[in-house]
């Protein structure tokens, strides 16, 4: 894995956004060649989305030939509810960029047949040629998407009941009222994300530090589902200093030294399609 440690949340968000931007541009997407991106929700990626929007508004990045697949969506919450993941993606990303609505895929938590909806989602990913880069976050209980502790590490897109840790963490979005928090969600499986050609996990904040420790310094364990990515050929963990608080000093020093030896990644631009310096990939 790569572990990229930035000083703070803003720098981590910027690094991640630049990485995504460069990946898309280097791919040279076009009419018959879409870049497929897996996307998360929550507070962690907000800074990254803001940066991507900025690159788009500067004319450096277009989402015209990008297909997106979100990780999850609540079950039973109306699509236009302010806390639905549809609303999140619209307000924090889609409405600011030029993505084709037909290429923005989010699971429908109000589908009549939920499992069929999940199966159809897997099929759409397959038809799109698989995911080029899946961006995700980590829950305080070490989950990826809504793959709660105990989820199979080879699971596919399915209906999940949320763990109490997750419900508590989400309560802040529902006026602190636990009874208002949805208890079920549709989510991509651990296996679904593992199928992606590249995975980037964003982890910021001290409250995620223990989960990061469990995910990368302990063994692969279905109780901390992000640990599955130890077995993925191409995973990057992007974090801020606070998220490393539970790691061994040795681990942190090793990865920081790796980063020190390289030139900082510039941001590509689709206008110029050129760059200076080498990338640290």
């Amino acid at each position: 894995m790569r572990l990229v440690i930035l000083d703070n949340y803003d720098l981590a968000s910027e690094w991640a956004a630049k990485y995504i931007c460069n990946r898309i541009i280097q791919f040279k997407p076009g009419q018959d060649r879409y870049f497929t991106l897996g996307l998360p929700t929550g507070s962690t990626p907000l800074g990254c989305y803001k940066k991507l929007i900025e690159y788009h508004k500067n004319g450096d990045l277009s989402f015209k030939y990008v297909k997106t697949f979100n990780m999850d969506e609540y079950v039973g919450l109306p699509r236009n509810h302010p806390e639905s993941y549809h609303s999140y993606m619209w307000n924090n990303f889609f409405k600011h960029v030029d993505i084709d609505p037909n290429n923005a895929h989010i699971l429908d938590g109000n589908a009549a047949d939920l499992q069929a909806e999940c199966d159809a989602f897997e099929k759409k990913i397959k038809e799109a040629g698989g995911i080029d880069l899946f961006v995700g976050g980590i829950g305080p209980d070490g989950h990826i998407a809504f793959n709660e502790p105990g989820s199979s590490l080879v699971s596919r897109t399915r209906l999940k009941t949320l763990a109490m840790d997750t419900i508590l963490a989400n309560a802040k979005y529902f006026d602190g009222d636990l009874s208002k928090v949805p208890t079920m969600a549709l989510t991509v499986g651990v296996g679904t994300v593992m199928d992606a050609r590249e995975v980037m996990i964003l982890i910021t904040g001290a409250h995620k530090a223990f989960a990061l420790y469990k995910a990368i310094e302990e063994g692969v364990n279905h109780m901390w589902t992000v640990s599955a990515f130890q077995q993925h050929p191409r995973t990057i963990f992007v974090c801020d200093e606070d998220a490393t608080l539970e790691l061994r000093v040795k681990t942190v020093k090793y990865f920081k030294a790796l980063k020190r030896g390289t030139v900082p990644t510039p941001a590509y631009s689709q206008r110029t399609c050129t760059h200076s310096g080498t990338t640290d990939s």
Partner: protein
């Protein structure tokens, strides 16, 4: 715009780089319009999988719901109370000219007149949608003749009437048809007002209290019978008294039907009401404030002397005098001037000032789902304003109907 099946689809317009008045706040949001209505872009994106067909950059301007003037007696030389041969041309002229003031809907107002005038004029002022031709006509506001002699103001004494004898039948006989009528101003102390107010309200007509010497109790009973508006608060009514606040007391009355509050019109031209009085009313009851122009035919005429009907009027800036005197001859401040003056005099928020000229009159007339708002589903009647609330452009049903000179480059 052709969709996948080859059928022509109505274009979607996206107004960008603007702040819109929505949910009582100015938000940095785009305004999306389709087929003359304001649409929800999130719904378009996820359900119909559509993006905008055209984008319009608003240059950082404010987009507010179009202003609604529920009391305007004429303008540009036109007098709605005059029975000319071609009343509708006069209404159309005013409707077109007030677009530049940001008004997208209005109630042509008739002052106290003899029955012949009502019978002749009313059928010629139908309710009409707005458009490039002019602001929409929501219905006529009949101010009089059932008003107080003592508080008639400039209304002709000879034509004042009462409905003591036959209540609502007298009303019908006086006005003729009520088809095009939206608001009636009357004095609730007149005998049998209770029945008349109930009958008018039952027909969906808004009853307003004005030109009256009613005390608070009589005013409250009128509201309980169905009255919902006060015509030009403070003018032509008993002054506020601490032991009997009169009609003014309705602003803070605790005897109104539950869930209802009173709306009140104010002419905020810096002349007809002292700013301190404007502030007292606004602070006492901000939700009820409705800005009106109560404009007279001299509105929009340049400085100098003009002959209007039987009157000689001298216009000097924002003031109209009876020629050769210092007597005020009605208001001639356009609606956008009233809004700016209101903002400056009360120190209220921009949102508050804009709502007083749009949302509140719409609520008064029960139109708030379609007018006076930029909520999804509402008619796309709106004004583009700069930060000092000068009108840059006016839109009706999503179509540009007026634009300031500089903006045309």
């Amino acid at each position: 715009m052709r969709d996948g099946r080859g059928t022509v689809r109505a274009p979607v317009l996206q107004f960008t780089n603007c702040r819109i008045l929505r949910g009582r706040r100015l938000l940095r949001e785009d305004l999306w319009v389709r087929e003359g209505h304001i649409v929800d872009p999130e719904k378009l994106f996820f359900e119909e999988r559509l993006v905008a067909d055209q984008q319009r950059d608003c240059g950082g301007c404010i987009l507010a719901p179009g202003f609604i003037d529920v009391q305007i007696n004429g303008g540009f030389g036109v007098d709605f109370s005059q029975a000319t041969e071609d009343v509708s041309s006069g209404v159309a002229l005013v409707a077109q000219r007030i677009l530049s003031h940001g008004v997208t809907s209005f109630c042509p107002t008739l002052v106290t007149s003899p029955p012949e005038i009502y019978h002749k004029v009313l059928p010629q002022i139908p309710v009409k949608s707005g458009g490039p031709h002019g602001a929409g006509v929501l219905g006529v506001h009949l101010e009089g003749p059932f008003i107080s002699r003592e508080k008639r103001g400039a209304h002709p004494e000879a034509h004042l009437r009462s409905y003591e004898a036959n209540a609502f039948h007298d009303v019908l006989a006086t006005y003729g048809s009520l088809d095009n009528v939206r608001i009636v101003t009357l004095a609730p102390e007149l005998g049998r007002s209770h029945e008349v107010i109930q009958a008018l309200t039952a027909r969906g007509i808004c009853v307003s209290l004005g030109h009256s010497v009613a005390n608070l109790r009589v005013a409250e009973e009128a509201v309980q019978s169905g009255a919902t508006f006060i015509t030009h608060l403070f003018n032509a009514m008993l002054p506020f008294h601490h032991r009997d606040p009169g009609i003014v007391g309705l602003l803070t009355s605790d005897r109104l039907p539950p869930g209802r509050h009173i709306f009140y019109g104010m002419i905020s031209d810096g002349m007809h009401t002292n700013p301190a009085a404007l502030r007292i009313a606004h602070r006492a009851h901000p939700q009820g404030m409705v800005l009106v122009t109560d404009a007279v035919p001299a509105l929009g005429l340049g400085n100098g002397r003009h002959t209007l009907g039987q009157q000689e009027v001298e216009v000097d800036g924002l003031t109209a005098y009876v020629a050769g005197t210092k007597t005020l001859s009605g208001s001639i401040a356009p609606m956008d001037v009233c809004v700016r003056h209101f903002l400056q005099a009360t120190g209220c928020s921009v949102e508050s000032a804009l709502e007083a000229a749009s949302l509140h009159p719409a609520q008064l007339l029960g139109l708030e789902k379609h007018k006076g708002t930029l909520d999804f589903g509402a008619d796309a009647d709106f004004v583009m304003l700069d930060d000092s609330l000068h009108v840059r452009a006016t839109y009706i049903s999503g179509e540009l109907v007026w634009q300031a000179e500089e903006a045309r480059q």
